[in-house]
């Protein structure tokens, strides 16, 4: 039944093309809610034991001559990713509630990204997987280039070309696996013994291709630019879902198919991951644009995911998957506050300008949300960020103690830039000349009562905050499902 997440989302996208714009946002909302509901139903109803293996849901011959099947499957890792996709999608639609310009088209591209992501997370056929993976690239371009802001065409093109470049690397790796093993079934391929010589070059090509999307240093530069150029919904989708495609695929495809290649290269991945964590955090500390801060923080957090994968213990990889979930939720929340709650009302994201507005009093709900999101992002216990990062670090300790030390130090930087952004954006010292009233910002002449935080925004924010708290307080909720699935993968040391 979980397969219907894909169909419903595609159907919603098609409906958007034919129905008039009065229905557009409702169609988008209902579609994404249906996707989330299906994910939750699967989460509740599937016995935990069934999630230990990548179990087939649908398998229909597609192009028999080339051995292609329409083959979907699910395990704990996929289910977690489907859930985070659903949560991000619903909140993204809620935060795009007041998009007026070319509304149908906006939600059409948005739903295509969501549908493609569901497809990636559920595919068990390499060709199908790759088709969904590439399908996500182009809608992002339009989402950013049409609806974005700062330097949008540049950001959109950069992001698309980076993704597509990664896609080309992935293409080579997938072809090599397919041609050598003669099969596209991911479960079969995961049993196939590729010769070490092939693995030694195919793994890095494949993994690097995926890692571009996950924002691996030094191929991460698309992420901050893209996040900044994108409309709020675009940033939320990018950080919440699209970056996860890369790390999920690296785990599911690259590492699972080429375990020997992975062993040869894992220390390099760990190295890049650690550099990414520290470097991005340091850069974030110096940014003036709030969205750039969050964009770099995404790169830094994704570094944890890559480190968890590289360490290759059951615990660290499970932590990485948990971090994918956690970061998806937290980043969406941060971008929602920065891009929608703040920017739409003040028309600026410059930290210096925001510091003079004392938004904490003008927009108390936004301030509250941002505090929660920052706390989660810094890894305060009780939030999902903490649960995920601590799992990764404990898991990685056995393999790369040095990396854990450096990362631990890096987390201080993360806390530093997060607190700086928090202080400047909401709790800055107001200049006396600025008139302050609850619910009003005098700097903007267009400001009026209608521009206080809307119900849709509150719903979206609450959904995301609930997700990060629930997983933070009781991580076993997800870990129980992730761990067995990870343990059944063959690359574990």
């Amino acid at each position: 039944m979980i397969a219907w997440t894909i169909y419903i989302t595609f159907a919603g996208a098609v409906l958007l093309l034919v129905l008039p714009r009065t229905f557009a946002r409702w169609i988008a909302l209902l579609t994404t809610i249906a996707g989330l509901a299906l994910g939750l139903i699967a989460f509740v109803r599937t016995p935990i034991g069934d999630l230990a293996h990548f179990a087939t849901i649908v398998r229909v011959p597609w192009v028999p001559a080339l051995g292609m099947n329409y083959h979907l499957a699910i395990d704990g890792v996929s289910l977690t990713m489907v859930l985070v996709t659903g949560i991000s999608a619903v909140s993204t639609v809620l935060f795009s509630w007041d998009v007026e310009h070319r509304q149908n088209e906006f939600f059409f591209w948005l739903l295509l990204v969501v549908a493609g992501s569901y497809g990636v997370f559920l595919s068990a056929d390499l060709f199908l997987f790759f088709a969904f993976y590439e399908l996500v690239i182009v809608p992002k371009y339009f989402l950013i280039a049409i609806f974005g802001s700062t330097n949008k065409e540049y950001g959109a093109m950069k992001l698309t070309l980076y993704s597509f470049f990664g896609g080309m690397l992935v293409f080579i790796g997938i072809l090599a696996a397919y041609v050598t093993a003669g099969s596209l079934d991911m479960n079969q391929l995961a049993q196939f013994q590729f010769n070490p010589q092939l693995q030694s070059w195919a793994f890095p090509v494949l993994f690097l291709g995926f890692a571009v999307l996950a924002g691996i240093w030094p191929l991460h530069t698309w992420a901050p630019t893209g996040h900044v150029a994108a409309p709020t919904a675009g940033s939320m989708l990018l950080a919440g879902i699209v970056m996860k495609l890369g790390s999920y695929a690296g785990l599911r495809v690259a590492m699972n198919l080429f375990p020997l290649g992975f062993q040869m290269w894992s220390k390099w991945i760990a190295f890049l991951a650690v550099v990414g964590i520290v470097y991005a955090a340091a850069v974030a500390l110096r940014q003036r644009d709030l969205k750039f801060v969050i964009g770099y923080s995404s790169v830094s957090h994704m570094g944890f995911v890559l480190l968890g994968l590289a360490a290759a213990t059951a615990l660290s990889v499970s932590g990485a998957v948990l971090q994918m979930f956690s970061h998806g939720v937290i980043a969406a929340l941060l971008f929602a506050v920065a891009g929608r709650m703040i920017y739409r009302r003040t028309h600026t994201r410059e930290l210096d300008a925001l510091a003079s507005m004392n938004l904490g009093r003008a927009l108390p709900f936004a301030a509250f949300t941002f505090v929660i999101a920052s706390a989660a992002s810094m890894g305060i216990p009780g939030f999902s960020g903490f649960a995920a990062e601590i799992t990764i670090l404990i898991g990685a300790w056995k393999t790369y103690p040095l990396a854990v030390w450096i990362t631990g130090a890096g987390m201080v930087l993360v806390a530093a830039f997060t607190l700086r952004a928090l202080k400047q954006s909401f709790f800055g010292e107001a200049e006396p000349s600025v008139l302050l009233q609850k619910g009003r910002v005098a700097l903007d002449p267009d400001w009026n009562e209608q521009q206080s935080i809307t119900a849709a925004e509150k719903c979206g924010a609450c959904l995301l905050m609930f997700a990060t708290l629930a997983v933070g307080i009781y991580p076993k909720l997800l870990l129980d499902r992730i761990m067995p699935a990870v343990e059944s993968m063959r690359f574990l040391k």
Partner: protein
């Protein structure tokens, strides 16, 4: 072998020829209402915006319907042919493969005829459509023959019709220039072909492909044979516009009447690939050679591999710098010829069918794209990037179709181009032992990475850029329902072949011997 029998087996060609003759007669007898304008030397862009109603009122539609009807009947007769037949030692061959590709070529010609209804109509629709049909006969002869002389005749018939079709817009000097260029390059390449064929004949003592293959089975690649081989290949490299034999293409694509350009880009290309495949895989089978990195063996496959790599690089890189959509398509066509050649380099049955699948999908896509260009030209008087600005707000349907075509060319799922690329590349990797063709696939992937950039630029112009102010726009002609339907059908086909490629791939695979 009685003439009646021959006529029966050649009935599709006969139907098309008769239709063409009828068209000529109609064109001569029905009086035109408008007077021919004198040749103007104005650039096309200013000119095309002139009088769109220059088309004789009734003559155009009548001729188009006759041509379309003739082509439909021809498809019907193809379907009624026996499954297998072989006349005069391969001069006329009927196999599932030839039937399938005759149908595809006729269908592409059919869509070309539909495009003719829209474009600033040719002044002599009867003659123009007759030429299209003659070219179609040339394609059918090419596809349906396994004999070098017959293939040469088909090439010439096709070529001569296309030269005139390219130069058909008498009001535009640039069209004449493109036609002349095409003719000069084409006739030179024909000379090469004839020379090559005569050398091959000298070495093997026959012109039938099957017999050539037998006679060459024991031969090594001697210098004379190599010369003959390369010269024969040059002719096809010219026809499919592979670099460095592509110089005619940009002009022909850009300034020829839109239907001519569509025909050159689609049907002519598909047929050329069918024949090229048959020649190298059947006739020159013993001279396959190998194109694997570090393990090259002399033969035709390294030649084709070099052509492919060069075409992909030249086509994609030069396309980056274009500001005219048709010229951009021309350079991208060079690159796509390169991708398709990879299928042939891989050789064997799988490689051939992958190449044919790709060529067919490409042809469908390009006819559709040219259909959109025809509409845009009619509405804005040109086909530069600037003419496409804001197409999305003017006509969402056309914009959507154009994005399907462009993204299919770039190889984005779920469109047919994506599957085509996957098919070709996987076949190529499987062909060389030890992933020997990886270098070629790598070049191709690099090329398609580059290509996404310029295809996105086209789409950016359509979707992102603001439409020009109303004052700048030319008066709209009434929306052409037929043309829009044609484009929508083609776009739906591209989508369908991407979602369910089995429909076409299985047929081609079954038909390829």
């Amino acid at each position: 072998m009685s003439y009646l029998q021959l006529l029966k087996l050649a009935s599709p060609e006969a139907v098309v020829v008769v239709t063409a003759l009828v068209l000529l007669a109609v064109g001569l007898t029905i009086r035109r209402r408008t007077v021919d304008a004198t040749v103007s030397t104005m650039p096309l862009d200013q000119n095309a915006s002139g009088t769109p109603a220059a088309m004789p009122d009734a003559l155009g539609p009548i001729c188009c319907s006759i041509a379309a009807l003739g082509l439909v009947v021809a498809i019907g007769t193809v379907l009624m042919l026996p499954r297998n037949a072989n006349l005069f030692g391969g001069m006329l061959v009927i196999t599932p493969l030839t039937c399938l590709f005759k149908i595809i070529c006729i269908a592409l010609a059919f869509f070309t005829v539909l495009l003719t209804t829209s474009e600033k109509a040719p002044r002599h629709p009867g003659e123009y459509l007759a030429l299209v049909l003659f070219a179609t006969v040339g394609l059918m002869l090419l596809v349906g023959s396994e004999e070098l002389l017959m293939i040469f005749i088909g090439l010439e018939l096709l070529g001569l019709s296309l030269y005139v079709m390219t130069a058909f817009d008498k009001t535009d000097v640039r069209s004449a220039e493109a036609g002349l260029k095409y003719f000069l390059f084409g006739s030179t390449s024909s000379a090469f072909t004839l020379f090559g064929i005569s050398l091959i004949y000298g070495m093997s003592g026959t012109t039938s492909l099957a017999a050539i293959s037998e006679n060459l089975a024991t031969a090594s690649v001697q210098p004379l044979l190599a010369v003959g081989l390369v010269m024969t290949l040059i002719a096809f490299a010219f026809k499919i516009a592979a670099a460095p034999f592509h110089v005619w293409a940009p002009d022909a694509y850009q300034v020829a009447p839109v239907p001519s350009a569509a025909f050159i880009a689609s049907a002519s290309k598909v047929a050329s690939f069918v024949v090229l495949g048959k020649i190298v895989l059947v006739g020159f089978a013993p001279l396959h050679g190998a194109a694997a990195w570090h393990a090259m063996v002399a033969g035709w496959s390294p030649v084709l591999a070099a052509l492919a790599a060069l075409s992909i690089l030249v086509g994609n890189l030069v396309a980056l710098a274009q500001s005219n959509v048709r010229r951009l398509l021309a350079y991208s066509a060079v690159a796509h010829a390169g991708y398709t050649l990879i299928g042939l380099v891989a050789g064997d049955r799988d490689g051939f069918s992958a190449a044919l699948f790709y060529a067919t999908v490409y042809a469908i896509t390009l006819v559709g794209a040219f259909g959109i260009i025809a509409v845009v030209r009619r509405e804005t008087g040109g086909d530069d990037f600037s003419n496409f600005r804001g197409l999305a707000s003017r006509s969402p349907l056309l914009a959507g179709c154009m994005s399907i075509f462009m993204l299919s060319l770039a190889g984005i799922p779920p469109l047919a181009g994506f599957f085509g690329k996957f098919y070709i590349f996987s076949v190529a990797l499987r062909a060389g032992a030890n992933l020997g063709l990886l270098w070629l696939v790598g070049v191709a992937l690099l090329g398609s990475f580059i290509s996404l950039y310029y295809y996105l630029l086209v789409l950016k112009t359509i979707f992102v850029d603001e439409p020009p102010l109303p004052a700048e726009r030319h008066v709209d002609v009434q929306p052409d329902l037929l043309l829009r339907t044609t484009v929508a059908v083609l776009a739906a086909t591209v989508l369908l072949l991407g979602v369910a490629p089995e429909i076409l791939a299985a047929r081609i695979l079954a038909a390829v011997p």
